[in-house]
């Protein structure tokens, strides 16, 4: 049996994020599932948040978090049985949530880096580089960058974009 406990929590930050979280107004329901794991469920149900909550409550194998962290921070690929890079499973409803919504909690540093970058200000969103759920890739293809930066592809045909630019902040590496 699942035990569902609904709470409305205050988001601790005064920041206002792009989707309207924050400013002390986020509504979160906290629940416990069959295995006794805890998750939190904002108005849009999100697997990433669930993972974070499980980690925070110490009830999920630390290995998964480590793999997730590696995947997002260093570009290491987490492959499924078919060898294809995959995003953690999402329900159909979860697939209809903007990437940045979940990642503002799942990978807040990455989300903030992007949000404050020229891509974030100009609204070049996650899915342009990483694809949407079905075609998700951790390490983007240079082809996607070339949509706007074809001239750089000609200038630096053999250099990967992220050799010179910090991923997500897009600042030049020193």
């Amino acid at each position: 049996m699942k035990k569902i406990v609904e709470h409305h929590l205050q988001f601790p930050s005064d920041d206002i994020c792009r989707r309207g979280y924050g400013a002390g107004n986020i509504a979160i329901s906290v629940f416990e599932d069959d295995a006794g794991h805890y998750g939190k469920d904002s108005y849009k149900n999100c697997k990433w948040r669930l993972i974070v909550r499980k980690i925070q409550s110490g009830m999920l194998a630390g290995m998964m978090f480590a793999a997730l962290g590696l995947m997002l921070c260093s570009g290491t690929v987490m492959a499924d049985t078919g060898g294809k890079v995959s995003h953690p499973e999402l329900t159909e409803q979860e697939q209809l949530i903007a990437c940045a919504d979940c990642h503002s909690e799942a990978t807040p540093e990455v989300q903030k880096e992007w949000f404050d970058s020229v891509h974030g200000i100009a609204m070049v969103k996650c899915y342009q580089c990483h694809g949407t759920f079905g075609e998700f890739v951790v390490t983007p293809s240079k082809e996607n960058c070339a949509t706007c930066h074809a001239d750089m592809m000609d200038k630096e045909p053999n250099t990967l974009c992220w050799e010179c630019h910090v991923p997500h902040s897009f600042k030049a590496k020193k």
Binding site: E92, I121, K125, A150
Partner: protein, 796 residues
């Protein structure tokens, strides 16, 4: 066993997944943006907004495989936005319409029919309607997304063939007030400068525009200018709602919706009080006007704006900024080395839309922030060809091609002569403007309506009211489109058309820039270019009506291949015969020239030699605008040769603050405003079919200020009923310090009947421009329930 909330969401999600429409495109179309063996690259314009970004479509074995920006284009320098990056993916979508569809009654199911039969039905119905009620009983409702050749050809058949000026298009809903503003303030439609001013500006005044989402690639240029010069460049964002655009603003000024006229007058007051105006510029180039055009003086104008003290403006606008803010932005505006103002629907979609435009222009005239590099009063266009096709090509009920008012006999005769039709063939009075046209549909006075490339069922304000008319069985509706829309659902005949890059033609964007897109791929199935459809329909029309004048209308185009030769012949007729010596002179912008240019030509461009330089960057400036030289009447460097001001001067207007048509009251206590979101285009019939874009923003939601939400017990994700005197929406809440307290905001792309916000908006319109006041109406809101799983909806 009790069902948990999470179980419920999961089950509902599974159910809704099964009913998705438009989600059947496998997500395997990754972009190919670089040269690859077997891939050819075809240059054209982006299909979506009015910026006019140049792109190249990659084609392999006849199939589109990718898209990239054109880096040597002066519109976008290679950059494209989220929509622009992905729009090509709908070209081969399985939902594309590929066969003509017909049903006698709107309650029947569509049947596939042949083109021969489809065109015969269309001709028969229009001929019957014409016989019953003359030109007033037929109507064409087009689009700022149609190619210029298409709009021009449609209106030619309507005006000279069917003797009807019932020629309208969706730009009436977005740009008509800008047209009125430019004509009444500058004497000529369309901006004086353009995008090249952005990199030279020192002050940006962005009002009523969420540029970051509605014109993202231009926003990138403004952002880059600001980030590269953080101290030298000021950005002022004036909007009742904090938006993504506000992120680069030095100062964001929120105000009670509809009170911006007071703010603009207040800025003029400060400029005059502190003597920041350009006295020499005013003396040489300016007239003062009041009322409907009565002469006035500088002193009268100064006295009028003197009543708008900063302190009073603050109160009128809702106490969300200070009097010092008003003074500071007025100083920034007046004293910068170059100020560019940018606006869109926040000023245009208003009952006082023309006045708001006038007041914006007033500030530029007063301070001389015009004609010089880095300064312009720049109305951003919403659609890719609202300017080129509809404003210039004769796509509104009161204007003929080449910026010619219908009601001027001499100008009508010029058009009739160019077409080789008898003088007097074009009716002397303007036809029905959009809201009057759909009112006439409601009343059954329009018997045959052709809707091209737009979806009025969703995009008209107070759409419930007008949808009743479109349901009438005695109103025959033919729709030309690439996908089913909510409007094809109310049509008798649906004709499948070629999409962008499947046909050839010209788009004219915000900055007087015309750019060609050549056919690069074949259309799917039996889809056809509109120019072919018009010609074939008109030939049948001529036969059924036994009217040789209709035959004459298509005579120059008979026998031409529809992919290139036909649109070229239409463009040649339009540009050579109808723009000659007009202020939008496009004679130099031939297909041969346009095909050579990375980014087209800015008019006026009277010769090919001049057009090959790129055309006119700054209108009215001698030495930079050939018409300023050829039309010069004195030694002054600026020559205002526009057709609407006989005194050849810029006009400063006295325009007072005036309320919107509907104000909040005890029963409907909130303002509602609506807008565009970056991931979707208009009614999302295209972008809703692209998974990346659909998933990024699958639903509309209602933005509620946190203070209002707390008062009403509304939490993020709660379902909220939004009700006006005209209709109700049920939308998930986004609690967000975006809209000012007392205001709610909704995006308008969602097609779902519960979330289609134009059921709620108001159809009051500007008395001059006839543009509806989408941006302001009064609503009440209440929490209906907690979060509920929702289903994206795209009509199929």
């Amino acid at each position: 066993m009790a069902q948990t909330r999470r179980d419920f969401i999961k089950k509902a999600a599974a159910l809704s997944a099964a009913s998705y429409v438009g989600m059947n495109l496998p997500i395997d179309k990754s972009n190919q943006a670089r040269a690859e063996e077997g891939v050819s690259w075809h240059r054209g314009s982006c299909r979506l907004c009015g910026v006019g970004c140049r792109v190249e479509l990659g084609v392999k074995n006849g199939t589109p495989v990718g898209l990239r920006g054109v880096s040597d284009s002066r519109t976008n320098f290679g950059y494209v936005c989220m929509k622009g990056m992905h729009f090509w993916k709908c070209m081969r979508h399985p939902d594309r319409l590929t066969k003509p569809l017909y049903r006698e009654k709107k309650t029947d199911k569509f049947q596939e029919i042949s083109w021969e039969k489809a065109l015969d039905i269309a001709a028969t119905k229009f001929a019957e309607a014409h016989k019953a009620g003359g030109g007033e009983a037929v109507a064409y409702y087009g689009s700022g997304q149609a190619l210029t050749e298409e709009t021009y050809f449609f209106q030619k058949i309507m005006r000279a063939g069917l003797q009807s000026n019932n020629v309208e298009g969706n730009p009436r809903l977005c740009m008509a007030s800008a047209v009125g503003g430019y004509l009444s303030s500058f004497g000529a439609d369309e901006p004086i400068g353009g995008y090249s001013d952005l990199e030279k500006a020192h002050c940006f005044f962005i009002v009523g525009s969420n540029t970051a989402e509605a014109h993202p690639v231009l926003f990138r240029r403004i952002m880059r200018r600001k980030l590269d010069n953080p101290n030298e460049v000021k950005v002022i964002n004036v909007d009742p709602r904090v938006s993504q655009t506000s992120r680069i603003a030095d100062k964001h000024m929120q105000f009670k919706p509809g009170t911006d006229l007071a703010l603009l007058n207040g800025m003029a007051h400060v400029i005059i009080e502190e003597k920041l105006y350009d006295e020499d510029f005013i003396q040489k180039y300016t007239s003062f006007k009041k009322g409907k055009g009565d002469d006035a003086t500088f002193e009268e104008y100064a006295a009028q704006v003197a009543t708008y003290t900063p302190e009073m403006v603050v109160k009128m606008c809702g106490d969300a900024f200070t009097a010092d803010d008003v003074r500071e932005v007025a100083r920034w505006f007046a004293t910068s080395k170059g100020t560019v103002s940018l606006w869109t629907m926040g000023l245009n979609q208003r009952k006082q839309g023309v006045w708001a435009n006038n007041l914006m222009h007033n500030l530029h005239i007063l301070t001389g922030q015009l004609m010089k590099d880095g300064a312009d009063s720049l109305s951003l266009t919403g659609q890719p060809n609202a300017c080129g096709g509809v404003r210039e090509g004769g796509g509104l009920c009161h204007i003929l091609p080449g910026h010619r008012p219908v009601n001027v006999e001499k100008l009508r005769n010029q058009v009739e002569a160019a077409w080789g039709v008898p003088a007097g063939r074009i009716p002397p009075e303007p036809g029905l403007h959009t809201m009057a046209m759909f009112t006439a549909v409601n009343e059954g006075k329009v018997k045959a309506l052709w809707v091209n490339c737009t979806s009025p069922v969703q995009s008209l304000p107070n759409c419930n009211l007008y949808n009743k008319g479109m349901d009438r069985e005695d109103v025959f509706i033919v729709t030309t489109d690439i996908f089913h829309t909510l409007t094809t659902q109310k049509s008798n005949l649906v004709l499948p058309t070629s999409f962008h890059f499947e046909k050839t033609g010209v788009y004219g964007c915000t900055e007087r820039r015309s750019q060609i897109t050549r056919k690069a791929i074949d259309s799917p199935g039996d889809a056809k270019p509109e120019v072919w459809i018009i010609r074939e329909w008109a030939r049948k029309l001529a036969e059924k009506m036994s009217d040789p004048v209709i035959t004459q209308c298509i005579k120059p185009f008979e026998g031409l291949e529809e992919g290139y030769e036909l649109p070229k012949a239409i463009w040649d007729e339009y540009s050579q015969k109808l723009t000659a010596h007009r202020d939008n002179d496009l004679r130099g912008a031939t297909y041969a020239v346009l095909e050579q240019m990375a980014d087209g030509v800015q008019w006026p461009a009277p010769t090919e030699e001049y057009a090959l330089t790129g055309g006119t960057v700054k209108k009215f400036v001698k030495g930079r605008d050939p018409m300023a030289d050829s039309e010069s009447k004195n030694d002054l460097p600026y020559q205002f040769y526009g057709p609407a001001h006989p005194d050849r001067k810029l006009w400063i207007w006295q325009r007072d603050q005036a309320d919107p048509d509907e104000m909040p009251d005890a029963e409907y206590p909130f303002y509602l405003s609506t807008g565009r979101i970056i991931d979707h285009w208009h009614t999302m019939s295209m972008t809703g079919r692209i998974p990346e874009l659909l998933r990024a923003n699958p639903y509309a939601y209602i933005e509620v200020n946190p203070k209002d939400a707390a008062r009403l017990g509304i939490k993020p994700g709660d379902m909220v009923e939004v009700t006006s005197r005209r209709g109700t929406n049920l939308l998930p809440a986004k609690v967000y310090e975006g809209p000012i307290e007392g205001m709610v905001f909704a995006y308008w792309h969602d097609q779902h009947e519960d979330r289609m916000i134009n059921k709620v908006t108001k159809d009051a319109y500007d008395p001059g421009s006839k543009e509806p006041e989408f941006k302001i109406c009064a609503v009440k809101i209440k929490r209906a329930s907690g979060p509920t799983p929702l289903t994206p909806y795209v009509a199929g």
